[in-house]
Symmetry: D2
Subunit: 355 residues, 4 copies
């Protein structure tokens, strides 16, 4: 199988770097174009990017020329790690030019025709693509988004409960890593030995995105889930890994035993598809007293697993638990790559996969 | 006025050190005896204590001899910073010997005859002392406790709402500083750049202690408040200052405006008593978008103020807010000293105060 | 005595904020004008400044209007916390307008007619001012600078050795706090749980500034000290306090005992002048095995003392020691204020002081 | 080839855990016995060990029974991660029983008959083993040690200079990670946002161990290198990775260009032996302005490479540089495993290797 040619938009930013690092040696995709702002265009990637990851820049990328963010290069699709200040327009331009856009930006997430996709949660939402193409005149192009990093951890973390018992209320308090703010992001004077009890715009995303993700698709329309969500977000001096403390009320009665069973019985709908980036256990329940911890669990399964622990009855709502998600991998670039794999497996990228 | 002579039990531990530091230059009290475990007894304080505070050991304390924890030295009362493994027995022994014990230990907190005191919240609970003396045969002695450090921040943080509208539910998530675990306490390998989503025994205290604190005293009996409380506790790499994220449901309907008014209208019942350690504003509401933060606010008013921010409507319960308490000052030694001041002002220590 | 009226240039920056905080309640000076870039001019200070200190903005400053950095307001002298990109020109303009400038900026530090002043080290260098006024046409104005924050700690830290035995070589390795880089300064992703073994431009300052500070003034000319200095600078995740590890070779033979005596015999030349900001012991030698530490010692004497420890023989040069300086107080704003006090005491600011 | 059976002494400690993690899937060795103190003996490994690494306990180890540290189990050799309080005696007992001991403990490092081995530096020192066996009556047993973690980084970091020009002086200042102190090790209250300018016993090791490592072996005797070494050690809030700032004077004149060439020309003497744990480039010179940094480089080549940067002329001695070593891998367990590989390749473990 020939690998699909991939462009990375916003290639020099924090998310763009993570795309490049994760796509190194990807069995289906290979990066053939890097695009960034006009300021970077024309430089080699090494010159243009202030590389912030622990792993070095892949060798085939180091001297690649950075292009302007125009749909004028050859590729089978693009990943977008664009900043939200420019993503709306640029992504649209690529889609109109017939190039599929797998985006991590927030701009199109709540568009009713654009899937807000977590393949383990709402795999069927990709059927919106057909209507999207018609309505928006995208031709062979389309846009698919992944949720906000915290929302991914939340949606995955409660998924077994949602599937077994339904959820009508969620009360969320987060402890979020500094890498979620990009680079340079949070000033060290603001966060060293400190906690900041607010993250601009974050609570709004947590309150709105899950409704669409857990929504039901009927006749090409997503009917949002009816869940009351409250959120308060804290920045903590942790490098990677958002911790999400959730209390929830279920639709249907459940005891704690049944909740544990929901987790142990959970099977990923992706298992049989053998997607290269899909973890065997996308949700890992831990019974260790002091887990999940960013240090110990965030890199499990290459950062693609959501760890869940501290599951207990809640005297106010029904249950409480703590979920941990790697915010720049499963919650951003890794999640977007999994979206692309799911789309390819379903024939939306580079022809039907008939292995 | 002659200063009262104070003994400090558990003088070499983290809380004991804080007692000593805060009592330096206290206008009513002076430390005249230091007691610690048999291992320390006989040494000078400098030899016995591994001093961990930023301020140096007060000069009059440096060469004071550490005594065994027996009620055999002269003093008007003692502060107890004893470890809970030994506090129960030793504190009882002092009370039986007629020496009042103002304790920070957890052992006697839930005893129905022993006040669990925050003077701004339940000042009248000290009237239990008379009954306590009779039932327990304490003579001139007694025991008064202050709550767990997080409970103090929680009770103070919601006090104006409780007083104005009543509270029937509280859902709590905490971000707690490492100094809460004493010394050596949390290993650096466990917490540097990490969060630990559980603190042994902490959630239980948060669920039980507020019921007594907010309880009504009738006929020498405390009728516990009827509040459902849920708590999940996280350790974060912050030196001092517990952040407490609370969602709550009120007894009586209130709008957000009224809640803000409850805070701005709040007046400390201690104001007119001019206690040396009582802050002018024991609860400070902040409207800054990113407050309260441990770094910026924890030391306000010598660490005796609870800062409250992020007050907002909650889509699941009624309101949310974030409270910040200095865990080793207001939440421990400073709170105990304020208790002693309140007791002295009410004639329970060293005669009626008739200034 | 009427307080002198002080303007603060660069009032909204990190150093400017420290000036404002330290001048609150100063017995000789009061802030009457705040100047910052054109972008801030016209706003109130609260609007213009992103306040980053733990203590709140002084009440008399909160609503003060920020002025443009032009010598058009009334004041007796100005402190400059200007960024080096603009300090050269603006400071010159004030001096030419007859306004004394006490500067923390680096631009004029090596000018042969401008004192690079640490009052305990080279108090007599202020006699350059007369020549400076003549040559540069400053009239009643002048410029006096304080050294780089690390240089201050170094020069103070070795001063007793320099005075007793002379120094001909210094080999320096630093561990510097993040506040030294201003705000936003160091990105948290760069420094959390990390060390960066280079600070742009810092080693150069450490190699050059001490030569002038320790230089001899003869016939209105500073003859630089003849010391070989090597420096390598590290940024560490500490909020305040630069640690400076120095090995040195002396001019004249000395044994370790004599070095210790040099420290214990050291008397500040400022003692008899009773300057409000001069610490009683500007250099504190510690014999505690694990000191000096930023956490424990940096705030001693209001951040104006340099702590010295780990004094020992060096198998390669003659001696080693570790000095600790509060980089934003003694090493910046506090040092500049002490310079102003010294200048006032010597009649260079607001008339001869004849107490 | 059948894998050699390996016992791990001190298996539950920090170094023992690292041995177990690194030996997972080792092509030559397999862990068949775990020994720890009597307190742990009899338990399963999971019960006995407080696992502190990011990677989980290998599956074949989880339920292995922990044995007492007696030479009564079958194995081809043992790794010792024993605490120095017990290592001397226990290691000796194993050697006397005919079992080779590859030790990370400090106790036997300076014994004139026991190699203090870094295979890239002094590979020939293993010929001491024959004499050691005779003199100490070890039979088929022997003891080989690896140096202190910082010494490894220092010796490797300056090796190309030592080999090309000789070294007569080294002036060392270190910034050491918390994992170097084991678990629980450094209390978080001592190190969060702080630096401690002393590490008990560390400077002594840095002053003495390199003399033996760089010593010449003649007629079964090591003649120590003649190098004056000065060291001052700092603990910094970094998880893994010791930074070593070295200034050095060479025996023979060299210019900076020649020093750079020494690094680029350096070839590991192990290359042709194809040892599984030997990195291709055991010393990596970086020319990036802000490297080497623990965060970015410590895990390179599985933590077995020493990164060197900041190479420059030194105005006091001849040159300066900064070396970075992974203290628990190359500086401890990984170094010991490489020692074992080198010994096996030379026929000292399980027969001559004749691939």
């Amino acid at each position: 199988m020939e690998k699909l040619r991939v462009g990375v938009l916003g290639a020099t930013g924090a998310v763009g770097q993570q795309f490049i690092a994760l796509l190194k040696n990807h069995p289906w995709f290979r990066v053939t174009a890097l695009a960034a702002s006009e300021r970077s265009a024309g430089k080699t990637y090494r010159e243009a990017a202030n590389w912030i990851l622990q792993t070095p820049i892949p060798e085939n990328i180091v001297n690649m020329k950075v292009l302007p963010p125009q749909p004028e290069f050859n590729c089978d699709f693009v990943f977008s790690g664009l900043d939200s200040s420019v993503a709306r327009e640029i992504e649209w331009k690529f889609a109109v030019a017939g190039i599929p856009v797998i985006s991590n930006a927030k701009n199109h997430r709540l568009d009713p025709l654009i899937p807000l996709l977590i393949p383990e949660v709402n795999p069927g939402h990709i059927s919106l693509i057909q209507l999207q193409r018609e309505k928006y005149g995208f031709g062979s192009g389309f846009i698919v988004t992944n949720p906000n990093c915290t929302t991914v951890g939340l949606a995955m973390g409660v998924l077994p409960v949602f599937q077994q018992f339904g959820i009508r209320k969620m009360l969320v308090t987060t402890l979020q890593a500094i890498s979620g703010a990009g680079y340079p992001g949070v000033a060290s004077l603001d966060i060293l030995g400190n906690v900041i009890p607010n993250i601009s715009g974050e609570a709004e995303k947590i309150r709105s995105e899950p409704l669409k993700i857990f929504g039901k698709l009927r006749e090409n329309k997503i009917f949002p889930a009816e869940i009351s969500i409250s959120a308060q977000c804290n920045r903590v001096p942790v490098r990677n890994g958002h911790l999400i403390s959730v209390s929830l009320a279920t639709d249907r009665a459940a005891d704690l035993e049944a909740v544990f069973s929901a987790y142990s019985d959970f099977v990923s709908p992706l298992t049989k598809w053998k997607l290269p980036g899909a973890p065997q256990h996308p949700i890992r329940l831990t019974d260790q007293s002091f887990d999940p911890q960013p240090f110990a669990q965030v890199d499990r399964d290459n950062g693609m697993t959501v760890s869940v622990g501290q599951v207990q009855s809640c005297p106010v709502l029904d249950f409480r638990l703590v979920a941990l998600v790697h915010n720049t991998i499963r919650g951003a670039a890794g999640g977007a790559i999994l979206n692309a794999e799911w789309l390819k497996a379903n024939g939306f990228l580079g022809g039907v996969d008939n292995r």
